[in-house]
Symmetry: C2
């Protein structure tokens, strides 16, 4: 087991000073051809690699970025992560990832942990609990220390930093308009609690589309499901006790579940009821019928977030924070009439 070799060892071995070795390995002009050759050869032989930690301490940067997301087993987030990872990798950054599990406490803990020198900046999407409590002190703290943060998807106006979001309201508006265009008039919204900024924005787009089309806006046609729990009962009841011919769902799972319930009740999709979901994930592509959906372009979001962050890390720009808006794309499949 040959441990990693250090400058000091090379220096001792070759009977030169540490700084000579350091310079030689950087091909410095200061050092003679001979010495450089000798040192470089030796270094190559022993496969010398500078120690990242020592470099970080010296340079006061880690070339790491911290990503904190609510859930990793989740198509949208992994997709964003892929975008981050790819861009960061190209720029020579590594990614440390922490999962908040939708918990405020874990989000805070993870941020504090990584903020103690482990990363040069953060990319994060707020946990459900954080959005519910509306407490962003941990983020402000980190920002106050001069560590840049980029928020994506689940963001808050209360935090001043760079952000990447979807045009949730507009694209929800579009989606509903499409369904209205195909003759639907009793349109429902299946959503989560309103403290999710994305849900609330989508709801606004939904309502606006209905009103703009002079359709009756009926509060009863909004089903709020508990985030990440079953709620199958609620769905059944909802579709039994209401007359509905089109549904917008704020995520893919809700859509799949609702389609399932409705089809079991003997209705045809899309003839009797059409569906549009959010998140163009794997489920949408393989459901029966295939689900029309709003693609959120997670990879692009991730890439954009990483770009904003690295920009700020490297160029220590001024305080005019940017918000990049990614345009969703409505992908029509078999759950809507084309």
């Amino acid at each position: 087991m040959k441990k990693r070799v250090t400058l000091k060892q090379i220096a001792r071995e070759l009977e030169v000073s540490v700084s000579t070795v350091s310079k030689a390995l950087k091909n410095s002009e200061e050092i003679s051809r001979d010495t450089k050759d000798k040192i470089q050869a030796f270094a190559k032989l022993y496969n010398y690699r500078p120690n990242n930690i020592a470099l970080s301490l010296k340079n006061k940067n880690t070339k790491n970025i911290g990503v904190i997301i609510p859930d990793i087993v989740h198509h949208f987030f992994t997709t964003v992560f892929r975008g981050i990872e790819q861009y960061a990798g190209k720029k020579g950054y590594n990614v440390m990832i922490c999962v908040s599990d939708e918990s405020f406490e874990k989000e805070v803990l993870n941020m504090e942990l990584l903020a103690n020198g482990s990363v040069d900046g953060f990319i994060l999407s707020l946990s459900a609990e954080t959005q519910e409590r509306n407490d962003y002190n941990h983020i402000k703290e980190v920002l106050g220390q001069g560590i840049p943060v980029v928020l994506f998807d689940r963001v808050s106006k209360d935090v001043l930093c760079d952000k990447v979001i979807l045009n949730d309201q507009e694209i929800a508006y579009e989606a509903v308009k499409v369904m209205i265009g195909s003759g639907k008039t009793k349109i429902a919204l299946v959503t989560t609690e309103n403290y999710f900024n994305v849900s609330s924005n989508r709801a606004q787009g939904f309502e606006k589309a209905i009103r703009d089309a002079n359709l009756a806006f009926d509060e009863n046609l909004i089903l709020t499901l508990p985030y990440q729990s079953e709620g199958d009962e609620l769905i059944r009841d909802f579709f039994e006790s209401n007359t509905i011919d089109a549904v917008l769902c704020v995520n893919e799972i809700f859509a799949i579940k609702c389609m399932d319930v409705v089809q079991r009740q003997g209705k045809r999709v899309p003839e009797d009821i059409s569906f549009i979901g959010f998140t163009n994930g794997i489920l949408s592509k393989y459901s029966t019928p295939r689900l029309s959906t709003v693609a959120q372009h997670g990879e692009r979001m991730g890439e954009t977030a990483a770009k904003l962050l690295i920009d700020r890390i490297e160029n220590d720009v001024d305080d005019n924070f940017r918000t990049e808006v990614i345009s969703g794309t409505l992908i029509q499949r078999d759950s809507t009439i084309n």
Copy 2:
């Protein structure tokens, strides 16, 4: 923007020495109550936190573990990752994650990057290309430097280290036996290239089950699909030109695709053809019909891998490497006859 405060600053401010501050903050008995109180109060006020990087350099450990997986947008891997993250978090470790994208080169690069002091150990699942080339020098190198590595799922006998795998052969055997038990005799296998150890193991279990039941083993009933590309044509041809009444697929997507093709050809699932897939992912639960599948217990795999790794990091054990075998569970849904 108040930067993080350091020991040195506290020392200067309070007119004591750095070492006194350090000790005081560790509540050392050496320091007087008074001094400690003063220093601790000050530290709390300025929210002092020790710098992780400096600690790493000093202690020669980073409390980071590196995870390298072929793909992040993939249910099984994210599931394993969640297990790793949870266990590691509990043990005070952070996780750095790199994606090899099924590329040998990226796998090597990522390992080298992180091996330069950034992590205390690795958990990794081999990329497709690495398995194909059968080149594991990068891993042996890292092991040679005394950095522990745990391989999971996609492993190789050529690397001596701790491993976590599924009982692929046995559970594939089980799955086929179940289909045989329900009267099926023309059983097909849909798989990937054989250099994937998991596919090859599952194929062995498949063959053994067929032979043990005294059924004819027909090479033609094995469809090898290109990993991660379409192959829809191949699937159609395969099911058109062969008489098949049951199918074992080495992953979920293959199963869903095949079910779809077969159903479009007018066959009923499971009456005419039954299906069992691997990876109890989200697709299986929501497909039509719901897919029977082998749960790989990714989370448990991840947790086990993390445990093996951290054990080795902290206890620098001897060279008797362990291989933990996770037992898959056959989950019967509607794509098989119960």
